[in-house]
């Protein structure tokens, strides 16, 4: 069952299908691997080592006859005031962009029969997955019945315009990501052809993903309303915004993909206070809510034994360090830090002991090797004695390290993120690393300094969830300049060679062999030091059918859900 839901494992042989499947899913705060799903009110199962869910435990309502109509209400942790896909990368924007905008391709996940972390895609504006004449060329046929919400037909020129704006608009934040594009052509109204500079195995993944992929028409994209209003060709018309509080949508009667959407109306509420999010669901004010930690999850299960839920693996956090400077340029110091962390204790304090204990840079992918299977697994064991020995070997007997640990304040990532930092700092003190905490305001300081790589010593952030395999390059490259999130200043020629190699490998099996070498190298070097993940739970009302959470951001899949009124 698991294999059937996994694109990578389902399509092992064909180069073209591998290419198509190389696509995939969302960066961010989404949580992912399913560990339990259903509507039982028993205690939660402990998080399993396996990262992907099993479809055997999925809701099975898809076979029922859909009942169109009604209103769906959803709570999100926040509603981003900026909704323009060209100028923001926020995952909060991607949630709602998916309701009103379309892309060439979209994720399949979000329905009961597809696992939440399945990163495979299906056609959206494109009639089918792209034709590929050679390793550099991708041809998409655009659906003839696709119309923007202003009534104008979507043409290949609109697609070209959108990608051109992503690449060249001075305020676009997607220029780097799409830099693999060499040229774009529109031989006719329904054909869009894209040529890449080099063979790039993640081309379709990027073109169908969340970053720089939404198609917003010129007349809207260049209007002053583009920041706060959405006008695309997606399943729902954006009708009203109550800034910071709610977004309202109505069914798009001219949506190109019939019979979707089923709901007549959709309301998304931004509720920043976690206690209110829980209370709103417990008091049946909303249909869907998400990302509950174990304590509120258990309370909600008790209060709403009827509710359906899906437990997922949270994304966890990681430590980055200045590996270009002493003392962290010595890998023994980095290994000591990893062995000085008591991840179990942190998990118990934050997530009732739940979560996947050991993590590498990929979270949740079915092909990502388990840490326990790596030759370097011992670096994840809590072993303060060995950690002290490594530090003594690197620094000299009796020497300690005085350093700083920079991180964002509570506003962005929540209390559990701060608690993790506090606990880890205390644990590292025990092995001789004395840390000065640098708690930075998220918007005014952290984003513009630490998250830019302007920090000293150590830093700490949640990990991003990548939907394309090559995300690894952004983490570790120095070519032609430091990767966007190479916060550890990794400069490793051997690693660079491996990253270059996997980018051009279209056969998944071959690419995964290279990825394995990268995993082992990164594990040995401990360029980044990873915490365990926690457990996050999605809840929804039992009468909502054909819905399942996804690891990826866009809420496009809500168009396939409906309410069983019977």
């Amino acid at each position: 069952m698991e294999d059937r839901n996994n694109y990578w494992l389902r399509h092992k042989t064909s180069r073209r299908t591998a290419l198509r499947g190389a696509a995939v899913a969302g960066v961010g705060a989404g949580a992912f691997a399913l560990v339990g799903c259903g509507d039982d009110d028993g205690g939660p199962e402990p998080t399993k080592q396996g990262l992907l869910p099993t479809a055997a435990t999925s809701p099975t309502a898809a076979a029922k006859t859909p009942k169109p109509g009604g209103t769906l209400t959803v709570t999100l942790p926040a509603i981003n005031p900026v909704l323009d896909p060209y100028t923001v990368t926020s995952f909060q924007t991607a949630y709602v962009n998916g309701l009103s905008y379309s892309k060439l391709l979209r994720f399949r996940a979000g329905v009961p029969e597809v696992a939440p972390a399945d990163n495979s895609m299906e056609p959206d504006l494109a009639e089918k997955l792209p034709e590929q004449a050679d390793p550099l060329t991708y041809t998409f046929k655009i659906k003839a019945n696709a119309k923007f919400h202003n009534g104008r037909q979507v043409t290949s020129e609109d697609i070209r315009y959108a990608f051109d704006r992503y690449l060249n608009f001075e305020k676009s934040v997607h220029k780097t990501g799409l830099s693999f594009i060499d040229k774009m052509e529109t031989p006719d109204n329904q054909t869009f052809k894209i040529t890449t500079k080099l063979p790039y195995a993640d081309t379709t993944a990027y073109l169908g993903g969340n970053l720089g992929a939404w198609i917003s028409p010129k007349e809207h994209a260049e209007s002053p309303e583009a920041t706060t209003k959405m006008l695309g060709s997606g399943p729902f018309l954006h009708t009203e915004t109550q800034a910071g509080v709610s977004l309202s949508f109505k069914k798009n009667p001219d949506y190109f993909d019939k019979p979707y959407p089923y709901f007549d109306e959709l309301k998304m509420f931004g509720v920043t206070d976690p206690a209110k999010r829980v209370a709103d669901f417990q008091s049946r004010q909303v249909d869907l809510t998400w990302l509950m930690l174990p304590d509120p999850r258990d309370s909600t299960k008790k209060a709403r034994p009827d509710a359906k839920f899906e437990e997922t693996q949270g994304i966890g956090g990681y430590i980055y360090l200045r590996t270009d400077k002493p003392p962290f340029q010595d890998k023994r110091v980095r290994q000591a830090i990893s062995m000085g962390l008591n991840r179990k204790l942190i998990r118990e304090a934050i997530s009732k002991g739940e979560g996947v204990p050991d993590q590498l840079y990929h979270v949740g992918y079915p092909f990502a090797r388990q840490v326990k299977d790596l030759p370097q697994a011992k670096y994840w064991d809590y072993n303060p004695t060995e950690a002290k020995k490594l530090l003594a070997a690197a620094l000299g007997d009796g020497k300690t390290i005085d350093t700083t640990w920079s991180h964002a304040d509570i506003t962005a990532y929540g209390q559990e993120y701060l608690d993790t930092a506090t606990l880890a700092q205390n644990q590292l003190k025990d092995i001789g690393i004395n840390i000065t905490d640098n708690n930075q305001p998220y918007a005014t300081s952290y984003l513009t300094t630490t998250y830019q790589g302007n920090y000293e010593g150590m830093g700490h952030s949640p990990r991003a969830v990548a939907y394309w395999l090559d995300y690894v390059t952004e983490r570790f490259t120095m070519k032609p300049k430091r990767g966007r999130i190479n916060l550890s200043y990794v400069n490793d020629p051997k690693l660079e060679d491996l990253m270059d190699k996997q980018r051009g490998q279209f056969k998944l099996e071959e690419r995964l062999q290279t990825i394995k070498q990268i995993e082992e190298l990164v594990a040995e070097e401990q360029y980044e030091i990873y915490f365990s993940t926690d457990t996050r739970t999605y809840f929804w009302n039992p009468d909502i059918q054909n819905y399942r959470p996804t690891a990826w951001f866009p809420y496009t899949h809500l168009m396939k859900a409906w309410r069983d009124k019977a």
Partner: protein, 315 residues
């Protein structure tokens, strides 16, 4: 009297001017880069930042920026939000009604609770009910409104699966639903205010109840309720009114946290999100608005003193 009024108004304008300078400078010395805020990503180029700086006029000297900004404010133009690009004035205008409604509701709850407690406590001085009520009011004073608000959300949903309707409906659209959405935050805000008002009402009433004219009223054979309500309470209300006027400003400030907790689209929630997002222009506009409200309230209190007490008028 006329001279006194003019003096107070001029002084208030001076205060507002000083506030505008402080606010304008403060938001500009906070570390951080505006173009990261505008684009909401740290991944920006120098060229992108140059374009944005020019567009916002922040490439000009600070003094020029200030005069341009104040020129706009005087004509009702507070600039545009860095984040949403909407006019700051329009954004505030949309949200003012909710905050005023919440403040009025809180005031209503505060008065309804405070006055009877203060009166009963004074009339039954040193009795068991007096002690009990004083204990209660001290308790309320020490409960932060955000904590009370959270408790009012959490426990009803836990015990009775009850929660106020999510989102916000305008009072003209659906008054009942609107009240259901606002009464919990209004109670949270109003309770702390009611505690201080009740204590002032009590002490003021005690003072008045010892006056000769109260004794005379009783001696004339007037009933207890008439003496308390008609003769004592009316006179005891003068310090209460003063405190109340000053506390309305505090209520206004209290909405910042409570609107966020209850996800209400008022000025408070806007302030918090603008501060978090470092939306300079929005923060400037909001602080100026809050400051103006406080200054005007203070001015009115000052003027009412002069009206009430001729000694101030002639000093």
């Amino acid at each position: 009297m006329g001279q006194y009024v003019v003096k107070r108004i001029l002084f208030s304008l001076l205060v507002l001017l000083a506030i505008s300078v402080i606010v304008f400078s403060a938001v500009r010395v906070i570390p951080g880069n505006v173009c990261h805020i505008v684009l909401q990503t740290p991944d920006v180029t120098k060229e992108q930042c140059t374009v944005i700086d020019k567009e916002l006029g922040i490439d000009q000297p600070m003094v020029t920026q200030y005069f341009k900004y104040m020129g706009g404010v005087l004509t009702g133009d507070f600039g545009k939000s860095l984040i949403t690009k909407r006019a700051v004035g329009a954004e505030m205008k949309d949200r003012i009604p909710l905050t005023i409604e919440l403040t009025l509701l809180s005031t209503f709850f505060a008065l309804v609770i405070a006055i009877p407690i203060g009166v009963v406590s004074a009339v039954r001085q040193d009795s068991l009910s007096d002690y009990g009520l004083r204990f209660l009011t001290i308790g309320w004073l020490s409960i932060p409104s955000f904590w009370l608000g959270t408790m009012l959300i959490v426990f009803p949903s836990k015990w009775w699966h009850y929660g106020p309707p999510v989102g916000y409906v305008n009072i003209w659209e659906d008054p009942l639903r609107n009240l259901e959405q606002l009464y919990l935050p209004a109670i949270s805000l109003g309770l702390a205010l009611s505690a201080s008002l009740a204590r002032v009402t009590r002490s003021s009433m005690l003072e008045v109840l010892r006056q000769d004219y109260i004794r005379t009223a009783r001696a004339k054979g007037l009933g207890g309720a008439v003496v308390v309500v008609r003769h004592a309470l009316r006179n005891a209300m003068i310090p209460v009114t003063t405190l109340f006027a000053l506390q309305v400003g505090v209520l206004f400030g209290g909405t910042v946290v409570l609107e966020s907790i209850f996800s209400l689209p008022g000025l408070g929630g806007l302030t918090l999100s603008a501060v978090r997002a470092k939306d300079y222009s929005q923060v400037q506009g909001l602080v100026l608005l809050f400051a103006t409200v406080l200054v005007v309230l203070n001015l009115l209190v000052d003027l009412s003193y002069a009206w009430i007490d001729p000694r101030i008028r002639y000093s």
